[in-house]
């Protein structure tokens, strides 16, 4: 019951944060002088194409860009009615992309859940690799196991992702016949979901997951190792040994359990760093994630498109932190009972 109340409370604060983030995002994308349409109008005027100017002027009023900034914001989010009534993010209208001349929803469409998929796969990869290796390195501290894993880890941290991507593509294709680029066979693009499509996506995921996850996994492994080593020196470990526990069982039950907390708390940080970190990788690998779209949108000052993408990334981050907070409360009684009368 306690936990449910906490989750609801935490969800509430998340919505609040999201609202603040939306203000920030809107201010930031409006910071550079000019916007997509006024740039275009200036360009059209210079070349004397008055028909284009009229269309751009029409779009300006259509999307309320002629209103003061604060009204623009409220209309964008959906707190105020725009020229066509309430139609903002809250109502599910993500706006219009001037660069692509398409609704934002249509442009991002598939890439949204592909982004989530790629990054979830990478997070899973990070945990699956870092957990056993970190524990092993700590348990066999200052032995060849420790040194080897540290060496491989630093290598993973130091290698630029795009380079790793190119190398893996080359050898992956040559030796294992893995596909190059993209997140699915081009034949499936735009097709409805089918078993073959899923299979194709999974095979295409292998290399990107590895590339995006490597550096995160090495960093997390080193952190877990350090935490574990700290815990292994604590008296309660000695107590457990004096009880007659076997080393492996002791390791899993006591120090790992305590060292696990920072590990869980990292979920929140992992998601955003992966999403922003994977932009370059996505461009190099030709992944249909949201990264490349964000890059174009920011470059051309495509107001609604970049605003939406930034909001989406913020949402993922907030969900990540919320999950790790709730998990922490479940895992650590000291947090759970904070403030309970002793």
């Amino acid at each position: 019951m306690e936990i449910l109340r906490y989750a609801i409370y935490r969800f509430g604060t998340m919505l609040l944060t999201l609202w603040v983030v939306s203000i920030l995002v809107f201010v930031i994308i409006n910071l550079p002088p000019g916007d997509y349409l006024s740039n275009q109008i200036a360009e059209l005027r210079a070349s004397g194409q008055s028909a284009g100017v009229a269309k751009a002027e029409f779009l300006r009023s259509e999307y309320a860009l002629d209103k003061p900034l604060w009204q623009q914001y409220l209309i964008w989010v959906g707190f105020l009615p725009g020229p066509h009534g309430f139609s903002g993010l809250i109502q599910g209208n993500f706006g219009w992309s001037f660069e692509f001349d398409l609704p934002v929803a249509e442009i991002v469409g598939d890439t949204l859940w592909l982004t989530v998929l790629v990054n979830l796969a990478a997070v899973l990869f990070v945990y699956m690799v870092a957990l056993p290796l970190g524990v092993l390195a700590a348990a066999r501290a200052r032995s060849w196991v420790d040194y080897t894993s540290a060496f491989v880890g630093y290598l993973g941290l130091a290698t630029p992702n795009f380079l790793l991507a190119l190398i893996l593509f080359y050898y992956g294709h040559r030796w294992f016949d893995l596909p190059i680029g993209g997140l699915m066979d081009p034949a499936f693009e735009g097709e409805p979901m089918s078993w073959d499509k899923v299979k194709s996506i999974l095979i295409h995921l292998i290399v990107p997951t590895f590339v995006i996850g490597t550096s995160g996994a090495s960093a997390m492994m080193q952190r877990l190792r350090a935490n574990m080593l700290d815990e292994l020196g604590k008296p309660y470990v000695e107590t457990a040994v004096a009880k007659g526990m076997s080393p492996s069982r002791m390791l899993a039950k006591y120090p790992l359990r305590v060292a696990f907390n920072p590990f869980v708390a990292d979920i929140g940080n992992l998601l955003p760093s992966m999403i922003s970190g994977s932009v370059l990788v996505s461009v190099v690998l030709g992944l249909q994630t949201i990264g490349p779209t964000l890059l174009t949108a920011l470059k051309t000052q495509d107001l609604f498109l970049s605003g939406f993408v930034l909001m989406f990334v913020a949402l993922l981050t907030l969900i990540g932190t919320m999950i790790s907070d709730v998990l922490l409360v479940l895992l650590d009684p000291r947090i759970r009972y904070e403030g309970r009368d002793a």
Partner: protein, 591 residues
């Protein structure tokens, strides 16, 4: 009859170094207690851990044997296979550690951690195990075993946690219990109760015990056999009675002399007429903290850390505040130093010079506060963490002078060297780092640092409780010497009545935020009135085998204030007033 455990000719060393334990031999008979006594660094802990083979990785056993004699056969513990060793640990031989706060996992329920011993060894079902654990909890004195079973360690007090540790060690009914300083981290009264419990359990189960301690008072109360260790060697060994009453080895004699004793109750000398030259005065000081009651919008709960404290410290004297952890003694000291503001109505008055102006500690402006900080300094409890490990002694010592912009660099250095000499260290030690000093030397360093600003008032917060008894004695002597030489005044915080007895001119005993009895030490020991004071005195372990701890007296006074005899009882927030029983001797009771 063969002893249960015999250790023969044991030597342990690290790397290439000289052995830290050298040819140690002793026997432990079934049902008896053997005490391993020594200062820190004597090798006693390493010796007792070698029995369970839980030594640090770098330690090597160089020679000797440890034999556990079972019903039918003898087991050589040093050559036994790891798997079989695991079967013994916690099952036949179990161990209690020094720090109950840190020896239990913070994330697992107490019941889980204790029952685990049975799961590991008994191959019992979860239900049977739980039943046995609950019985064991009841035996070690938990009022509500079922509740304890589901609690986490941080929900229990230190004494209760140590009881849980004892339950964990006892639940599999081992033949041998090794207790490594089991009560060193506890208050005197809690220590007395835990020791009493261990003795009872031993009588009921007939197990043998190895008690590792630095406190001969504890030894006198617990052990039949004693082994005195110093620098890895056995100095003296034998039955407790003759060893303690007529020690053959000078080292044992020195340990006995250093042990704090409750002074013989001589008739109280009539107190000197109270001097009116007060350096520090606390007037009706109270402090209430409000605790956040948790999530949601419940009203915060109020906790009163200390209530209506009135204390007077005459110039050149020592006023001691004695009490267990949580009694409010540290809060009172923090308020006296201005580190915390008292509740409205209370005030602290400080007079730096005899006829000088008096200032109110909590109504100072910036300049007055800086001046006050020069006059009032503090010596902290833990010499290991109160000196920065990354600063040379010189830098640590001249830092106060830098902050107050006093003197030039050479003068500061010269002063630091003088102060080191004054506390009995060499001038040439200035450039060393703290890690090069022992615990006692570090405490001398923190005293020297406190003296750098030539203060008139020093607050000593348990300055000796982290030290060995022999070192404790030296530090107390040093403090006395300096006080008399420089006409300092001490506010001395301690939980140890025997320590206070020798240094204080007046003692205030605190419990639950209130002063329950206040008198000069002679009057306090000669004629203790309050049940809590009586309990404190009775709980003091002494190296005299004929003066065992009177557990009845301890239990009566150390219980909750609601259970005290009618005259002294608190009812809820209501406490009786503090009234004088003889000149200079006040007790909180209904007249």
């Amino acid at each position: 009859m063969t002893p249960l455990l015999s250790v023969e000719n044991l030597s342990i060393g690290f790397g290439e170094e000289d052995p830290v334990v050298q040819s140690v031999s002793f026997d432990v008979a079934a049902g008896q207690t053997l005490a391993l006594v020594g200062e820190s660094g004597s090798g006693k802990t390493i010796t007792c851990r070698s029995v369970l083979r839980i030594l640090p990785k770098a330690a090597q056993i160089r020679s000797g044997s440890i034999t556990l004699n079972g019903k039918d056969r003898a087991i050589d513990l040093l050559t036994l296979g790891e798997r079989k060793m695991r079967d013994l640990r916690g099952n036949q031989i179990s161990m209690i550690f020094q720090e109950p706060m840190r020896s239990l996992s913070p994330l697992h329920r107490i019941g889980n951690q204790v029952a685990e011993v049975l799961w590991l060894h008994g191959r019992k079902s979860e239900r049977e195990a739980k039943k046995e654990v609950l019985e064991c909890f009841e035996r070690v004195g938990f009022p509500d075993p079922e509740r304890t079973y589901g609690s986490y360690p941080f929900e229990l007090s230190g004494g209760m946690r140590q009881r849980a540790m004892i339950a964990m060690a006892m639940v599999a009914k081992p033949k041998l219990l090794i207790a490594d300083e089991p009560t060193t981290a506890l208050d005197v009264t809690t220590q007395a109760q835990v020791l009493g419990l261990m003795k009872d359990l031993q009588r009921d189960t007939g197990m043998a015990m190895i008690l590792v301690t630095h406190d001969l008072g504890v030894v006198a109360n617990m052990a039949e056999q004693v082994v005195v260790m110093h620098k890895g060697r056995v100095m003296e060994a034998g039955a407790a009675e003759p060893l303690l009453s007529a020690p053959a080895h000078p080292y044992t004699q020195a340990l006995i002399d250093a042990a704090p004793k409750v002074p013989e109750a001589t008739a109280a000398t009539p107190p000197a007429p109270a001097s009116e030259d007060l350096i520090l005065e606390l007037k009706s000081v109270s402090k209430t903290y409000s605790m956040r009651a948790g999530k949601g919008w419940r009203a915060p709960s109020l906790i009163s850390a200390c209530r209506d404290i009135n204390l007077r410290l005459p110039r050149g004297k020592t006023l001691a505040i004695v009490g267990e952890s949580g009694s409010g003694k540290t809060t009172a000291a923090r308020i006296a130093l201005g580190a915390e503001a008292p509740d409205p109505g209370g005030e602290v008055i400080f007079r730096p010079q005899t006829d000088g102006p008096a200032t109110k500690v909590h109504e100072m402006n910036r300049a007055a506060r800086t001046a006050f900080q020069r006059e009032a300094q503090m010596v902290f409890q833990d010499p290991y963490s109160s000196l920065s490990p990354r600063m040379r002694i010189l830098d640590t010592m001249i830092e106060p002078l830098e902050i107050h912009r006093i003197g030039r660099q050479e003068e500061r250095r010269a002063k630091a060297a003088d102060m080191l000499e004054m506390v009995g260290l060499g001038r040439d030690m200035l450039l060393r780092y703290p890690h090069a000093f022992s615990g006692g030397q570090r405490q001398r360093l923190s005293i020297a640092r406190a003296l750098m600003l030539d203060p008139s008032l020093i607050v000593c917060d348990e300055p000796t409780s982290a030290l060995d008894v022999s070192v404790q004695e030296q530090i107390l002597c040093l403090l006395e010497e300096i006080r008399d030489e420089r006409n300092l005044s001490y506010l001395f915080i301690s939980h140890d009545l025997a320590v206070v007895a020798r240094i204080a001119d007046e003692v205030a005993v605190m419990r639950r935020g209130l002063v329950v009895e206040q008198a000069p030490p002679e009057a306090l020991f000669h004629n203790p009135q309050h049940p809590y004071t009586k309990a404190l005195i009775a709980a003091q372990p002494e190296p005299n085998i004929h003066r065992p701890i009177n557990l009845k007296l301890v239990a009566q006074g150390a219980g909750s204030p609601e259970s005290w005899p009618e005259d002294f009882r608190f009812s809820g927030q209501e406490a009786p007033p503090l009234i004088p029983v003889e000149p200079g001797h006040k007790v909180r009771c209904h007249a």
